[in-house]
Subunit: 225 residues, 2 copies
Amino acid sequence: MQDVTVAERWTQERRREHTRNLLLDAAKDVFARRGFEGASLEEIAEAAGYTRGAIYKHFGSKEELFLAVNKRYNESFLKSFVDSIDPATPVEELDLASLAKRWHEMQYSDPHDFALGIEFNLFVLRHPETMERVAKQRLELAQMIADFIDEQSERLGEIIHMKSLTLARLSLACSDGLQLAAFLDRGQDDLYEPFLALLVSAIEDDPTKKQKAKKTAKSAKSAKK
Amino acid sequence: MQDVTVAERWTQERRREHTRNLLLDAAKDVFARRGFEGASLEEIAEAAGYTRGAIYKHFGSKEELFLAVNKRYNESFLKSFVDSIDPATPVEELDLASLAKRWHEMQYSDPHDFALGIEFNLFVLRHPETMERVAKQRLELAQMIADFIDEQSERLGEIIHMKSLTLARLSLACSDGLQLAAFLDRGQDDLYEPFLALLVSAIEDDPTKKQKAKKTAKSAKSAKK
DNA sequence: TAACTAAGATACGGGTCTGTATCTATCTGT
DNA sequence: ACAGATAGATACAGACCCGTATCTTAGTTA
């Protein structure tokens, strides 16, 4: 840690990280298109501009590669969530329709990217030994959304009669189904707006409940960690 | 069609149907456990007590076999839904918790069976040419639930401010996510009850809305077909 | 009972895949 | 500048899988 110059950019470690990223990018694409079993390491390596040997230097097995892609996928989702709530219009100024639209747009627009997210779930269902590490990431994401909800509800002074973490998990859980419907039930009514309408109609319908809900949200937040 | 006796049970056609069913049963299990790509026709045939030759006499390809399994899966889901609402306690006598419990129990309890349902969705996402035939089944199921909702809301005189078909599709869409959460987020709060609470809190909160909703439901029903 | 038909078994061909073991060349530390 | 380490390529082994083509055996029909 002495002289850190620009030349440091191409140190061996940097280079290793570089190809690792290229491999992960390629893997994401191929896994998304073909699925875990359907994808071949050959195709992934070629898409990245390397050969299978490179993959085995960086990842122990196909499974490990897949899990590494999963981790990155989650992180990028989390990041995109953070980014999307920062610069945009404050939530209280949005009507229902635009809120639904914004949510929908935040989702993956490419069916393959979306399919990859589903594939991760399938993988965990079929590889219970990986459940724990993935569940941790799920919870992390949910907690981040819960924090956002707490923050908003404090500003707006309104909240749903439900723990914020539960609401966050509920939203995430339903989100996949809603997006799937958007892909498969093409031509039929959008479901995001009705779903949000449901959420909204549960807000502020009873002042006594409101009081209670606020308390719940507080305790939930303080119990966060 | 002359003498139809018990011997008719083992006519060639009957026998063919029999093995076809055995093949489908085995295929369901293996596909559920290994996924579409991961499953081998060899294993399926063996599990059914036949060889790969039998499969190709009954189904043109692996894809066709998979789609046949899908069709049967949907039909059985539909049937189990019908069965479950007939003999049980009328809905108005159930509290929220037992309703949630009943819904949850209606779902597949084996992770592999559930995974198979997801696998179907993935398959359609990756094989757009099959989208249409599967979408038809999705809509059929949703319509059946919509009918049920209409029926109940007529008896109970209360309904959510939403087209019944939309509500049905919404429930189905969210259902998968809820069940997935039940499998993956083990140890955390159940999500079925909060979800139902959301639905319920949207009922009967405003008498004027109630009137409007009733009208919507009626028109939806008459426009069914 | 003999010819026909079809269900299902067996055999084959061509291909692909994962994982490991070995090789090469570039980079690092001294 | 040289010896060691390591990223990545190449080569290899063993297995598996799909689809088709052929064969066998049992049931159907006349």
